[in-house]
Symmetry: C2
Subunit: 580 residues, 2 copies
C-alpha cells in the first residue's frame, strides 16, 4: 500500500470534540470517522488493526475449544421476553417494530441467542461442556457515548458462551478462559492489562472479572491493594472500616442546628469530627418511587452498585418535597419514618456517639449510639472504599485507587438464562437439570482505542507490531530524485516479497510532512531512504518508539528489517504466558 | 474437531417449513437455525463455510486495490435524508428512534455511508480512483423472506464502492471488478454462475449486471439467447415482437360481448386469435392513486419493472370500482378516459385488426388499427419477453428462459449519491466536479446456500473443497475396537499435522448413522477406517460426490488424502480465469 493511495486523510489540528489523546490521534491519523452519536466508520488503517485483533482473539478462542458461530444483530422480542430482559433492561436496549408490527430488538449481548441456538442440541449430558463464540456487531443505546471508540453505541464484540453440567466444570473452564484472556491482551501488546473482581450487574451470576487497562482517562475506578494481589472494580469492592478507636458513647440529645443542611455545616456548627457523623443519601425505587435511605459515615460515599444489588431493583436519586415523609437535610436513622426502606453502612459500626439528623426541620441528634438506640441494627456494605482503606483480602490499610478502561470481562452466569429459557439436559440417571453458563466478552474497537491511549506520544499512536496497521513504513525523502526513488521502490518490493507488511510513502512532499504522517500512522518500524544516506549507500532504520535508530547498508536493509520485526514480535511473545 | 463435540444437531426428518432442498439439508445438517422471520443463526459448520467465502472475496477485492473499511449497521436518518432515500425507500428500510428520540435506520446498503466516509478525503482529483469495501451485517425488512438463507432479512454482505473522475475510468474499473467477481464465484466452486444485464432499481445508475446461479428454485427469471451471448434478467430484458405476418386491417366495429371479461372469453366468443387481441392491465400510482393502464398483446404479460421505470414512480395493482373512469373487463385503447395514463406495448405494433375493450360495459371493438384509429401512437417496451422470443442482441428467435438466484451484482451508479450528498473534487484546472461511483455486492450467506442448492444430493450438501467446512471427514467404524480406534486416531493427528482440515467421527454408533452424518456435513473427502479394511492394513478413501472410491495401505493414507485434496483444489483453480 502506498500512502498516496491510502483512503483516510491525516491532519494537524486537534478536533475540538476530542477530550482524550487517543481519540484525537485516531481522528487526526485517518483511522475513524464520526457518523452519529457513538457511531463511527473505520477507515482502512483502523480496519487492519481491528482485523488483527479479531484474529488474535479467534486463535485463542479456538485454542480453548471454542467454536465460532454467528448470531443475528436483530432478534425477535419474544426471545428476550423468554429471559425476562425485554422488560428488565432499560432504554439501552433498542426496541422497534418491523413492517408487520412485530416487536424486535437490536442485540446488545447474546445470551438469549446462545441458549436458543443450543437448546435442542445439548439435551444430553454427553454434549457438555462446550463453548461457542462469535465476532459480531452490537448496538447498545448508551446514554452518554464518550471518548471516541472507548464508549460507543455500535461496536464489534467477541462474545463467548460456555455451557456446563457442574459448577466445578464451569470453575475449571472459567480459569482456562481467564488465562486465554491474559494471552489475548499479551499478544495484542498490552501486558499491562490487569484483572479485577467485578460486579455482575444485569448479566446475572456471581463470580466475574474485568480486564482493565490502567489509564487516568479510564471511566472505571479500580481498587488495588499494595500489599497483596487484591484487585477489584470499585463497584464490587468490599469496604471495611475500623472504628475501634472512635469516641465513647454519650447521652442522646436533640440539638437545634439551624440552616445546617450538609454534613460539613453540621460538623462545623457542632465542632464535631466528620468521622463520627452520619450522612443520609436518599434514593427512590424506579418501580414505585418508594424511598430508599442509605446511611454512611460522613466522610464516605455511597456505592450505588452495591446498594442496587442489595435493594434488588433499580433506584434513582430522590426528589424530596415538603409533603414527603422525609425531612430533607435532617434525615437520620433514629426516628425515621417507617415508609422509607433504610440501609445502614458498615462505616457507622462501632462509633459510640454519632451526630445524625433528627428527622425534624432544623434539628440533629448528638450522642446517637446505633446499637443502643435502635432496635436491631443490621449493618450492610454500601459504601465506596477509599484511598488507604482496609484491604478486604489481607486486612492491611494498603488500598490505592486507580482509573481503568474495561477491555474485557468474564462472568459466571449460573442458570439465570437456562432456567428462564427452559434449556435442560438429561444426566446419566435420566434426571433433568439446567446447564450452568459462563460468558466472556471483548470489545474489539474499544481495545484498539485503548491500546492507542496507553501507547502513543504527542505525534501519534505507537502500535504494538502484532496489531499495527502495517509493520513497516518506508519514507522516500526526495521522491523526485531518480536514484532515491529507485532504491525505495526496490526496497518496498523486497519487503513485500518477504511477506513483511509495508506502507510506502513516495509522495513528493517535504520531509517534515512525511514524518508527521508516518508518526500518525504509527507503524512500529520505519525505513527512511534519503539522498544523504544514499551517498554512503545506506538507509536509516528506526522504531516508532525511538528505541532503535540505525544506519545500515542498502543491501542489508531487508535483513535488518526482518530481524527487527522478529525482535519486536519476540518481545511481545516473551510476555505471553503458557496455559497452566 | 470431533463430530462428538461439534455444536449443531443433525437429523433425518425434513422440516415441514423447508420448501427447497438446500434449506432442508442445511437445517438437517446442523448448519443454521431459525431465530425469526428471515433471521437465522449460523452453527459452527456454516460459520466455517461463510468465513471461507468471506476470505475468498477479501483476497479478490484486495487484488483489485480495494481497501477494507467498516461502516456502521445503525446510521442516523440524516445521512439517508441527504441522499433522499430516507423518504424514497419503502418499508424494507427499518426506521427507529433512539432513547433521545433521534431518528435512525438500519443499513440495508451503504452508499450514503461510503460517500460520508470519503467526502473530505477525496477533494482532489489526485486521490482518484479508489475503491473501499466492507464485510458487514445488513438488515432489509423483506416482505416475503423465503427459502432459508436464499432470501432473508438479516445477512452478511460484502459491499464495495468505487469512485472515479470519468466515465471511462469507471468503465475500466467496472470491467476489472466484473472479472474479479467471475474469479470469486469460480474460486468458491460455482463456475456455473452467469452474468446477466439487470435493472438498476432503487440504486440509481444505468449499466448493471447480476451474477446468477441457474437453478429451477431461483426467484429471478433469466433471459438467455441460444444463438449469441445475450443474457439478461427478465426485469431488464428488452422485448421485440414481430407482427409482420399479422392480419390485414378491417373495419372498426363495436360488438356486444356479454360476460366476456377476460381475453380468453372474448377470443372464444369472437373466434379470434389471442395474438390479435389487446389486453389491459391496470395499476394505480402509489402517490395519488391515478390510474396507469398498460396495453399488451393478449398473449404477453406486463413487465412491471420496465413499466415502473417508464412511469418514474411506484405503482400498485389497481382496484377499479363502478364510480371510476374505467370499465373493468372492457378497457381498450380507443376511447379510453383522459384521466388514465396510457402505455401501449410494442407487442401491439403492426397488427392490422385488433380486438380490444370498448370502454363500455359488455362491448368490445373488432378491427381496431392503432396507427389508423388513434392520434399519435407511441409504442413503449413494457412486456415480458417469452420463450422463443426475438433476441434483442442478435435478432434471432432463440430466447430461452431459466430461473436463477442472484448471488452478486455490480452497478454503475453515476453521480446519484455524490450529487445529492454534495461530494465534490477539484480537477487539474481548479474546477469542481461530482465523482462517478460504482458499487459491487455479494451476499455471503445466500452464496453459501446457493452453492448447497446446486451442489447436493438427497443425502446432503456436496461442498466444493474451497469452502467446505472441513476438507476431510474421518469415519472410524467400530470405535470400540482398539486397533481401529488407534489407526483412526493416528490418522486424525497426521492430517492435522499436515494442515489438512479434518473432522473426526469416533463415536460408537452404527456405520449407517455415521455415514448419514458425514453426508449431511458434506466434507468432499472421506476416509473410512474399519476392522474389515484393517485386515488388509488398508483404509478406504472416497469423495462425497462418489467420483473416487479407493482402498489404500494405511501408511499411504495421508499422502493419498493430500494428493486428492490438491487435485480437488486444482480442479477449481482450472476454472479460475486470469485477469485480462
Amino acid at each position: 500500500m502506498k500512502v498516496a493511495n491510502l483512503v483516510g486523510q491525516r491532519f494537524k489540528e486537534k478536533p475540538s470534540d476530542c477530550v482524550i489523546d487517543s481519540h484525537a490521534l485516531m481522528v487526526r491519523g485517518g483511522f475513524m470517522k464520526y457518523v452519529g452519536n457513538g457511531i463511527y466508520s473505520e477507515f482502512p488503517a483502523l480496519r487492519r488493526v481491528t482485523a488483527k485483533i479479531e484474529n488474535i482473539i479467534r486463535k485463542e478462542m479456538d485454542a480453548i475449544d471454542g467454536q465460532e458461530v454467528l448470531f443475528p444483530v436483530v432478534m425477535p422480542a419474544s426471545l428476550w421476553e423468554e429471559s425476562g430482559r425485554y422488560k428488565s433492561v432499560g432504554s439501552e436496549l433498542v426496541r422497534f417494530k418491523d413492517r408487520n408490527g412485530s416487536k424486535h430488538v437490536l442485540g446488545m449481548t447474546h445470551e438469549e441467542a446462545a441458549v436458543h441456538l443450543v437448546r435442542e442440541y445439548a439435551q444430553s449430558y454427553t454434549k457438555y461442556p462446550f463453548m461457542i463464540y462469535q465476532v459480531q456487531r452490537k448496538f447498545r443505546d448508551e446514554a452518554r457515548p464518550r471518548a471516541g471508540m472507548i464508549r460507543v453505541r455500535e461496536f464489534t464484540m467477541k462474545d463467548a458462551y460456555s455451557f456446563h453440567t457442574s459448577q466445578e466444570d464451569l470453575d475449571k473452564y472459567y480459569d482456562v478462559c481467564f488465562q486465554a484472556y491474559n494471552r489475548i491482551f499479551q499478544k495484542v501488546g498490552v501486558p499491562e492489562v490487569v484483572t479485577v473482581q467485578s460486579d455482575s450487574g444485569m448479566m446475572g451470576g456471581s463470580v466475574s472479572h474485568e480486564y482493565m487497562l490502567l489509564t487516568p482517562i479510564g471511566e472505571d475506578s479500580i481498587v488495588i491493594c499494595n500489599e497483596c494481589d487484591y484487585r477489584s472494580n470499585m463497584e464490587a469492592a468490599k469496604n471495611e472500616v475500623d472504628n475501634s478507636g472512635a469516641c465513647d458513647s454519650a447521652e442522646l440529645l436533640c440539638i437545634e442546628t439551624p440552616n445546617c443542611k450538609t454534613i460539613d455545616d453540621v460538623c462545623a456548627f457542632l465542632k464535631s469530627d466528620v468521622k463520627t457523623s452520619c450522612k443520609a443519601v436518599v434514593y427512590q425505587k424506579n418501580a414505585d418511587d418508594k424511598f430508599v435511605v442509605a446511611f454512611v459515615r460522613g466522610d464516605y460515599e455511597v456505592n450505588e452498585t452495591k446498594l442496587r444489588n442489595l435493594v434488588g431493583e433499580e433506584v434513582h436519586t430522590a426528589e424530596i418535597t415538603e409533603e414527603d415523609c422525609l425531612v430533607a437535610g435532617y434525615i437520620g436513622p433514629y426516628g425515621i419514618s417507617d415508609e422509607a426502606e433504610v440501609y445502614i453502612d458498615v462505616s457507622l459500626k462501632g462509633i459510640g456517639s454519632i451526630v445524625a439528623g433528627a428527622n425534624k426541620e432544623g434539628y440533629h441528634y448528638t450522642g446517637l449510639n446505633l446499637e443502643r438506640d435502635l432496635v436491631n441494627v443490621n449493618y450492610v456494605d454500601i459504601s465506596k472504599i477509599k484511598e488507604n482503606g482496609i484491604c478486604p483480602c489481607c486486612g492491611k490499610s494498603a488500598i490505592t485507587i486507580k482509573r481503568g478502561i474495561e477491555v474485557g470481562n468474564i462472568f459466571q452466569l449460573g442458570t439465570k438464562y437456562t432456567e428462564s429459557m427452559n434449556m435442560q439436559y438429561t444426566d446419566e440417571n435420566g434426571e433433568s437439570h439446567y446447564p450452568i453458563m459462563g460468558c466472556y466478552g471483548i470489545g474489539v474497537g474499544r481495545l484498539a482505542a485503548s491500546v492507542c491511549e496507553v501507547h502513543h506520544d504527542e505525534y501519534g499512536p505507537i502500535w504494538p507490531i502484532s496489531i499495527a496497521p502495517w509493520e513497516v513504513q518506508i519514507c522516500c525523502l526526495r521522491a523526485d530524485d531518480e536514484e532515491t526513488k529507485k532504491v525505495a521502490d526496490s526496497l518496498y518490493k523486497d519487503l513485500k516479497n518477504n511477506n513483511i507488511e509495508a506502507i510506502y510513502d513516495d509522495r513528493e512532499i517535504r520531509p517534515g510532512a512525511m514524518f508527521s504522517d508516518a508518526d500518525l500512522i504509527g507503524a512500529p518500524i520505519r525505513v527512511t531512504v534519503s539522498p544523504r544516506n544514499l551517498k554512503e549507500s545506506s538507509v536509516e532504520i528506526t522504531t516508532r518508539d525511538k528505541s532503535v535508530k540505525t544506519i545500515v547498508p542498502i543491501e542489508e536493509a531487508v535483513k535488518s528489517v526482518q530481524n527487527l520485526r522478529l525482535k519486536l514480535f519476540a518481545d511481545i511473545a516473551a510476555n505471553v504466558e503458557d496455559y497452566k
